[in-house]
């Protein structure tokens, strides 16, 4: 078999895929519109655009109860109320009245300045603030505590106006200032590294494994396997088809992110596209392996769902891979997608050149080769069984 015939067969398979794809409006909608749009827009809506900043505590209604009524407590109120982080401090409640309102959604926390607050400060003792929180709202309690602490730990009751503490003042602990030098990123930019990969994994896996299982259920896959087209051409044809979709999806996500939410990836378009394609190839390889195991469409969808959940737990999306313990760390180390997310973070956020991430790239490319080879062998045996 000549190389030319191998490639012409591959192109024929790819053409067939595109024809089928064009005729399926739902597939076009989900693959090219719904997936990129849903994930990117939900990220942008949740985190805010990359250029914008917002304080999560700014608009949360918080009751302020001053039982001390001293100069120090008034200065603390002024410090907080004029800060960008506590714009919805509500006065006028009694302590019991405010606590009774917690859990009713009218207020979510109560800051109580106890009697003796100023005395403690004057005498050099540590004064206390009591923060009652509605802890049925996950994350709210911690967020308010952290923000409040950043203002109080360096509060000086002798200074009349200290409305805006500098970042170094807010991060200072026990008289030791902490100067942070690492680059900081908008929540949207961090999320973008996840969305780029998740969209490709989500769509690519279904397009390959789901596509083959659908053909198998329709009965056309067996005919394709026993045709003179080599397995390699079938795999290459489907890969070419999905590569084009990957490129379109990558551009869609980037266009929404950059023009809609002001994302500024710290790398060039080629790197982003290359990483998207590598993630997509790993996913396609996995998709071919699953398809070769003769899964039905429903099973493929279920595996896809668990794959995504698995990635959230073990690929460093929620918690950094290096913080995982025991067997979960081992799983994380073995997952090629962990390296893909790592490479995306290092390039998109830190601006590292793609080729400097040698280990990540080697592991990802090695995974692509292993998965494609495994799928090839499984599909080859499957064809042998069909023929004999």
């Amino acid at each position: 078999m000549s190389v030319a015939s191998f490639f012409s067969d591959s192109i024929a398979v790819a053409e067939n895929e595109f024809r089928q794809f064009r005729r399926n409006r739902s597939a076009i909608l989900i693959s090219l519109v719904v997936l990129p749009l849903f994930f990117t827009v939900s990220l942008g809506a949740g985190q805010g655009g990359a250029g914008s900043t917002f304080s999560p505590t700014a608009h949360i209604p918080i009751a302020w109860v001053d039982n001390d009524n001293s100069l120090a407590s008034i200065r603390l109120w002024e410090t907080l109320a004029t800060s960008p982080d506590f714009r919805n401090l509500i006065e006028g409640y009694t302590e019991q009245g405010a606590i009774a309102q917690l859990g009713t959604k009218r207020i979510y926390a109560v800051i109580v300045v106890p009697k003796g607050f100023q005395n403690d400060l004057e005498n050099g003792n540590q004064a206390t603030l009591i923060l009652y929180t509605d802890d049925s709202e996950p994350g709210v309690s911690d967020q308010i505590q952290a923000t409040l602490t950043s203002y109080t730990q360096n509060f000086d009751p002798n200074v009349e106006v200290q409305a805006h503490l500098s970042q170094i003042q807010r991060e200072s602990v026990a008289g030791v200032g902490i100067v942070s030098k690492g680059a900081t990123f908008a929540g949207f930019d961090i999320g973008l590294t996840i969305v780029i990969a998740i969209v490709q994994i989500f769509a690519g896996f279904y397009e390959i494994a789901g596509g083959i299982s659908r053909e198998r259920e329709d009965g056309t896959y067996a005919r394709l396997l026993v045709s003179p087209i080599p397995i390699g051409s079938i795999m290459l044809g489907k890969t070419l088809f999905d590569t084009v979709l990957t490129v379109i999806r990558t551009f869609t996500v980037l266009a929404i992110s950059i023009y809609g939410y002001g994302a500024r990836p710290n790398t060039d378009l080629f790197t982003l596209l290359a990483l998207s394609l590598i993630v997509s190839f790993v996913t396609m390889g996995l998709g071919f392996v699953v398809a070769a195991l003769k899964m039905g469409q429903r099973a493929v969808v279920i595996i896809e769902f668990f794959l995504i959940l698995f990635l959230f737990a073990f690929s460093g999306l929620i918690i950094d891979s290096n913080l995982l313990v025991g067997f979960s760390q081992a799983i994380s180390n073995a997952l090629p997608f962990s390296y893909a997310f790592d490479a995306l973070r290092r390039t998109v956020l830190l601006g590292r050149p793609l080729l400097s991430l040698t280990f990540d790239l080697e592991y990802l490319i090695g995974s692509v080769i292993v998965l494609y080879a495994l799928a090839f062998i499984l599909l080859h045996f499957s064809r042998e069984r069909l023929i004999t």
Partner: protein, 376 residues
Amino acid sequence: MIKSLVQDTAAITGKELKQLRRDPVSLVLTIMFPIILIGIFIVIVSAFSATTHNVPVVVADLDGTPASKALLDQLTQSRFVHVTELVETENQAYQAVANGQAIGAIVIPQGFGANLAMGDAFVIISTDNSKLTSSQFVSAAVSQGAQNLVTQAVQQGGVSFGLKLAPIEVIVRPLSGRPPSGDPILPGFLGMIATLGGFDDIVNAISRERERGTFPRLTLSPVSLIAVYSGKMFATVVLTILRTALMLIIFSLYGLDIHGSLILIFLTAILIAVFTLSLGLTISARIRGSATLTVLEIAMTFPLFTLAGTFNSPLLLAPGGKAIADSLPWTYGNDALRRLIYLGAGFNAIASDLLILFVSSLILLPIAILLSKRTM
């Protein structure tokens, strides 16, 4: 008429449950969803609550005074970080982070000890902020190190350098009285299971019947379309009760104290599932393939985790996200579950949440029936 509707509905419900019993994949899926989700939760929580984190850091002590050595001692004993190397210069420290050898570089500058005596010292940290959690642990290690220096100095009555206790301590008292723990997302998981279960049920109930060709036969039978949909909905109610019971058992085994009325928890989970089913029925009138529908529904579900208060309160979202969250009925369901489970809220406290779910389902159901009729 009503009697016949009820009988038909019961017959369809029985048929749905019988079909599920005969389909081992779907049956396993119904049971596996909660178990796998909780498994993932345990992985995440155990990573956060590990006794040591060993985030690799390099330290450059440019001061070499007793004060800087005391801070260095604190860092080497920290449960957050692991000092992998002591370097000579500031640049070497930053380079280690840039090269990926360490996640954080801690630089104790020259004059640290002298400035400390005046209460004006500072430490420089450079972190690889692409590692979100780890970089926060580096800051926490330095903060704790400084705080420990003060505590030790106070306890020993020895040299206190220029350090001082933070003037104000913030004491937190959560309303539920629960100790701060890693379980604030468990009620969100229950909402997620109800949502995913509802989506899965609609795939089983309509799309697969359409693919097998049994749905047109069912609609051509003397059973009314309302009875068909009601029957499928009641099957979902039964399954949601089973899934919720399983989740609550797992919660109890995990040690979660459930404060609220169990009946209200079941009612809320059922309303979340029924709303999801109503939405699924509407979508399935247009998207016929079961696999396509499932993929679409999963694609919709993942953004919901962020926006509908599954993991984090919608209060903490950006303004745009909060507006979306407020318009999603799931947000109210998750909110009701949290207040029931943690605060022991009564019916009055969650009535408006339940009403939103109920009315949303009531609006969607006729639309679904109308669209289904049109496409027949």
